[in-house]
């Protein structure tokens, strides 16, 4: 560039564009190596043949998917009928994850609202308090929860001593315990995005609505909810998706009856009883399921915006 020549706006933005591409490199590298590569590997494995002591034989096969969806009898030569075991586990997982998401939303929305409407100074304190549990490993937190709610744990002992109950509540190894674990694990993922949305919410909109004859519930339904909806959706996705694949909470807090996808997949890769291609297939089916749900949401969202 000639000395003293004025810097053109085009030149400046071109420089930024080049910089942006370079700045994105580490991100692409990490996504490529640690996200795409494992998913592709998982996809490939799901079409291989299992080795009996864990691992795979490099022979193409649909066996894993076949095992997931169809029952061919004890010796594998009966006409195929739908296999409900794994679909049932998936269904229960979706149900559990959905319920955990709704619980997180019901508790998380008022919490986020409360924090976002404090004065800025105490907001950061509340946010800090919300995130404090995350300084401790999830495994340890889940085990602690198990100790807390088991029949001989402090919760039951306290209630027994206080005379509120005669026999322990029997919380452990139930769906409720799994719910509690999921709720506890993922609540902040609901609170934080909703908080971010509510914090940006212009309260003059509520005043305008109330000026235009809307009562409290109408304002919530027609103004606040639609305006902070992106935060709510983000929170729901951030809670639902990991809940669906969670295995710590169902493993440690649930029993045999509360088996979820995460545990099913995890078992396939453990020890000699495992079946890698089947585990990979289950993981691929889970991934597909999540992607389909996200796509449906994205399309619904686009339709609303095009209107």
């Amino acid at each position: 560039m000639a000395a003293g020549a004025p810097m053109g706006a085009g030149t400046t933005s071109d420089i930024y564009k080049g910089d942006a591409a370079r700045l994105m490199m580490p991100t692409w590298l990490i996504i490529g190596i640690f996200l795409l590569a494992p998913v592709i590997m998982m996809g490939v494995y799901s079409f291989l043949t299992k080795e009996f002591r864990g691992g795979v034989v490099w022979e193409f096969s649909f066996a894993a998917y076949d095992q997931f969806f169809f029952d061919r009898g004890l010796f594998g030569d009966d006409p195929p009928t739908l296999e409900w075991t794994y679909i049932g586990i998936f269904w229960r997982s979706i149900w559990q994850a959905g319920l955990a998401t709704i619980m997180c939303l019901l508790i998380g929305f008022p919490t986020a609202w409360f924090i976002a409407t404090r004065d800025p100074k105490s907001r950061s304190i509340w946010l800090f308090l919300i995130t404090i549990p995350y300084w401790v490993n999830l495994l340890i937190r889940t085990v602690s929860m198990k100790f807390l709610i088991r029949d001989t744990g402090p919760l039951n002992e306290f209630l027994l001593a206080a005379g509120v109950i005669d026999t322990p509540l029997g919380l452990i190894n139930t769906d409720f315990a799994v719910q509690l674990g999921l709720f506890y694990s993922y609540l902040p993922f609901m609170v934080l995005p909703i908080y971010a949305a509510v914090e940006r919410y212009d309260f003059a909109l509520s005043e305008a609505a109330s000026d235009l004859y809307a009562g409290t519930w109408t304002i919530l339904r027609l103004v606040i909810f639609p305006v902070v909806k992106p935060g709510i959706i983000a929170g729901c996705i951030l809670v639902f998706v990991p809940s669906l694949g969670a295995f710590l909470a169902p493993d440690l807090l649930g029993g045999a009856k509360t088996f979820m996808i995460g545990s099913l997949i995890e078992e396939q890769f453990k020890g000699s009883a495992g079946n890698w291609p089947f585990g990979a297939a289950a993981a691929m089916i889970l991934l597909t399921l999540v992607l389909v749900i996200l796509l449906i949401y994205a399309r619904a969202q686009n339709k609303v915006e095009d209107r």
């Binding site: 005043e207 305008a208 109330s210 000026d211 235009l212 004859y213 009562g215 027609l222 103004v223």
Partner: protein
């Protein structure tokens, strides 16, 4: 108690925030079909008062009557008044049409009538072609008109406007002023308009209420508050003025005899209550004539000029070192005295006014 000609009666309203009193027993009657402006600097209580009428602020004492009906304890959504907000507060997820429709649906209008009303109101503010746009796709001026349409659609008994022009640029602001005024005549309801811009207040209002520190200073026509301010605050806030310290010799029948700085005697009208002694004389800069040294009511030395386009502002220093501003029309016939020149200043008859502190 309130006569039917009164749209809003504000009766001894007090509003406190903790230890701070925002409104000290304010009483104002706003008439039907008038363009009424609350004018004052920020923090004077004008917005608080407007928000109290809308119902967004509870009042600690006093009453608010809307056409004779006590609305003091009604929530905002039960008061038949609508507000145009400073930043418009349009619902971002709704189209222009849906925004304007909002109030009508809440008041259970029949769908077909509501739609017709929305179309009519959008036509009134010339936005019919933009009905299906979202607020973010409109310019500031268009958003402002949507806010206006939305507030007018449910046929409020009174329209409240909270500095609705402050977010517009100067040229647009001037155009919208006359539109607003026309709209007010067309709708035939009282507009209560809050602004800190005295020019806006003077050009649009039927009556202006000048407020300061939570108190009403003066209520009157734009001409009244400009030409007959009751105290120093009003004279200083509304338009530009010179405040001269003078010795008051005698006051009789609202006419004061004062001694100007430099000793010349002068007679002028006095605002209601002024005691003899030291008082302040308000003289508008455009009501001062420049003449030869020794020929005027005051003697002064020119210390500077400022070019203002239509006018030229002259800064002059009096014998007692007080500085005054004089406005001369920028025409070819006007003689502009040189800097450092000694001049005489003539105060036009009725141009000066003795004020209470």
């Amino acid at each position: 108690m309130a006569s039917p000609e009164i749209a809003v009666s504000i009766d001894q309203v007090v509003k406190r925030y903790g230890g701070f009193t925002a409104l000290h027993g304010v009483s104002i009657d706003i008439r039907e079909r008038e363009f009424f402006t609350l004018l004052g600097p920020s923090g004077c209580g004008k917005t608080t008062l407007l928000r109290a009428i809308a119902g967004f602020e509870d009042v600690n004492e006093g009453r608010l009557l809307l056409k004779g009906v006590d609305i003091t304890n009604l929530p905002p959504h039960k008061r038949p008044v609508n507000t145009v907000f400073q930043q418009y507060a349009l619902f971002p997820h709704m189209t222009v049409f849906e925004n304007v429709m909002f109030g009508l649906l809440r008041k259970n209008w029949i769908q077909s009538e509501a739609q017709r009303r929305v179309q009519d109101v959008l036509e009134m503010v010339q936005l019919s072609d933009f009905a299906s746009r979202k607020p973010a796709q409109l310019s500031g001026g268009q958003q402002q008109r949507v806010a206006l349409a939305r507030a007018l659609a449910p046929r409020p008994q009174v329209l409240l406007l909270d500095e609705p022009l402050s977010a517009l640029d100067l040229k647009l602001r001037q155009a919208v002023r006359s539109e607003l005024k026309a709209l007010q005549r067309e709708t035939g309801i009282a507009f209560i308009f809050v602004t800190h811009d005295q020019e806006e207040a003077l050009t649009m209002s039927d009556r202006v209420c000048v407020m300061s520190n939570g108190r009403v200073q003066q209520i009157g026509s734009p001409k009244d508050v400009y030409e007959a301010p009751v105290n120093r605050f009003v004279a200083d806030f509304v338009g530009e003025t010179n405040l001269l310290e003078v010795t008051v010799n005698k006051i009789k029948d609202g006419l004061a005899s004062v001694a100007l700085p430099g000793g010349n005697a002068f007679e002028c009208p006095a605002a209601a209550v002024v005691d003899p002694g030291v008082g302040h004389l308000s003289v508008r800069p455009e009501r001062i004539k420049v003449t030869a040294d020794g020929q005027g009511d005051l003697d002064a030395v020119v210390t500077g000029h400022t070019y203002l386009g239509t006018d030229i502002q002259l800064l002059v220093r009096l014998a007692d070192d007080e500085v005054m501003s004089v406005r001369l029309q920028n025409s070819q016939t006007t003689e502009i005295p040189e800097q450092g020149a000694a001049v005489g200043l003539v105060l036009e008859a009725g141009a000066a006014r003795l004020l209470a502190d």
